[in-house]
Symmetry: C2
Subunit: 420 residues, 2 copies
Amino acid sequence: MRVLLVGAGGVGTAVTRIAARRDFFEHMVVADYDEDRARAAVAGVPRAGGPDPAGTDGGTAGGGRFSAARVDASDEAAVRELLARERCDVLLNATDPRFVMPLFRASLAAGAHYLDMAMSLSRPHPRRPYEECGVKLGDEQFALAEDWSESGRVALVGMGVEPGLSDVFARHAADELFDSIEEVGVRDGANLTVEGHDFAPSFSIWTTIEECLNPPVVFETGRGWFTTPPFSEPEVFDFPEGIGPVECVNVEHEEVLLIPRWVDADRVTFKYGLGSDFVNTLRVLHQIGLDRTEPVTVRGADGPVRVSPRDVVAACLPDPATLGDRMRGKTCAGTWVKGVRDGRPREVYLYHVVDNEWSMREYGSQAVVWQTAVNPVVALELLATGAWSGTGILGPEAFEARPFLDLLTEYGTPWGMREQ
Amino acid sequence: MRVLLVGAGGVGTAVTRIAARRDFFEHMVVADYDEDRARAAVAGVPRAGGPDPAGTDGGTAGGGRFSAARVDASDEAAVRELLARERCDVLLNATDPRFVMPLFRASLAAGAHYLDMAMSLSRPHPRRPYEECGVKLGDEQFALAEDWSESGRVALVGMGVEPGLSDVFARHAADELFDSIEEVGVRDGANLTVEGHDFAPSFSIWTTIEECLNPPVVFETGRGWFTTPPFSEPEVFDFPEGIGPVECVNVEHEEVLLIPRWVDADRVTFKYGLGSDFVNTLRVLHQIGLDRTEPVTVRGADGPVRVSPRDVVAACLPDPATLGDRMRGKTCAGTWVKGVRDGRPREVYLYHVVDNEWSMREYGSQAVVWQTAVNPVVALELLATGAWSGTGILGPEAFEARPFLDLLTEYGTPWGMREQ
């Protein structure tokens, strides 16, 4: 298997470090808009004799299995050419969700498989944004479902940790733990702190704003998908392994769009443990309009310039990928399932916890970024070995869960289950 | 008297509308970085037959007493030349405090009098910012005190409403209402709301951030000037004329630096009725670093650009000068004084309230902007008639208060006093 990884940010860099320890693939091209960033990721890959921070091997590393390239993820033709030139079987998208569509179309055109960790963006309903869906997450991708089916290739969408592992948990619950499911509720929480920063999000603020300020989507059998106002239905969820109770609120997330397509459940929700301080911060940004992506005109050094306020917010904050050294605590992703087994009510929480201290020591990557990155590598390995196979656009829950969960454990990062 | 007004924003425009009704000056040149803005201010001046919004008189109006010019307020030489070319006796600075020093120096060099409504900016103490003063508001200006004294011209600094009228009130209290003063506490509050906006500051957000997030300064006899953390010593102050109780907090303001130079008081403070929502917003902006003025690098349409985060915040919000039509309520500026008169304790609040409905109807200017603008016009008239005279750098409290307060009432905008 030859892989084109697009995006050498925090997640992409962690992907290279995790993949370097596995032998299921032949070659991985690491491509980024900023070629230096791609080269740095390649140079940091562990190899016989340790990493090569100076990049003296000319951009290949890890026994020559990695190489760096420059590509503009928004340039579909350039991505297609790169896939062809490098004879890649699969494109792994580790960029902002803004670049999903060009990368998705380029893969289809080039006859390559495709994996991403976030789906194409939503647009709120023009008149009833907090009641009805407009364009949903992934709609633009699923519009090409027939083309993908005909291509004989698989587009495995939403294959990070959330969406991704959370969807695998839902499928596992449906297959092995429940006879019928009342609610699947993905619940995400952490107790991470960053030394020296009052406010330092552990994940891309661009994406965090996008998912937290868009109208949250909920699925109910009979009613289908609908939306609510931001931060709706707050609840305190008790997270395992010492994280403890965190206030969670509804957030727009891919699982709610994916799970009902393959798993029978009366209700599907996603709640994020933002905590009240973070919710307050997001509310203020929204009130001022600093969450907006449409550019505003501002005085620059050489006259007026146009910038997106959300990009300015991101530029003011530290890059989450660089915070690992000063971060303390654990992050938990998981799926809470309520239903019936053998005629009796049952409730479980299937979860995966990463301790930042461990991920920094083992991989030099901070916990949230590492937890996102490990899952698509496991999925690539399942596709490479044929343990997972299929054609068309598929979510993680379209595949048997057991092989994934077993291989994840083999990667040294086991999952857990709490009966409640 | 020939006046050079620099700055045709909300306050500058209101200055032209107020001055147009008075005959103490011969000519007013309205200069701005954006000449269109200066022309619009001039064209909007009421004249025989009404205003001239199309500017068809070629940039003069109000019986030829106003004309427009372009000037960069940061270009000292250009301002000096303009003063000379237009034979102006006085420069009235209605720009951001960033431009105080070049305008102040240009006036000195040109032999013109100078008035402003905010003083040169402070810089926090490098090690103990919330305990000790670094560079104080106005320090850079007072460093030129000797030059101004020798020039025979007056630099009347801090002559808006706050600082300005609030300082006049302090002098009036010292002269006519108290034998000794324990505390002079300037207190500013409003009940203004803006239709259609959850968050729409009624005054320059650039200046509001500057004064609210800098360490607040306090004066005490014996101890001198010192600082506290932002938003310190919250108190609820009951504002008159139906505004009612508002939570006020310490804020860095010029009165604390000016009043002790000319008025005997054991303690001088400034508290601003921000309200808890506004304090929360400012805290969040500060936590993210969006209050910063040093530029950050952001992706622009044609590659990376450098912008100041605070300018981006301002660009996201509506221009306060344009909000008058959708604004409701009143704004109150005033000075609370506690002390002794005839051996008995006394407490008074001297205040000036502007109802937005009135200022919009009478002058087409929103209340906060109009209230700031009327005071320097009154001061100019006192200087023109000789009722006020002096040389050197002087605050409003360096002059007798009575002529100012009487003329303000003659302008149709009376002040009030509450014995408490």
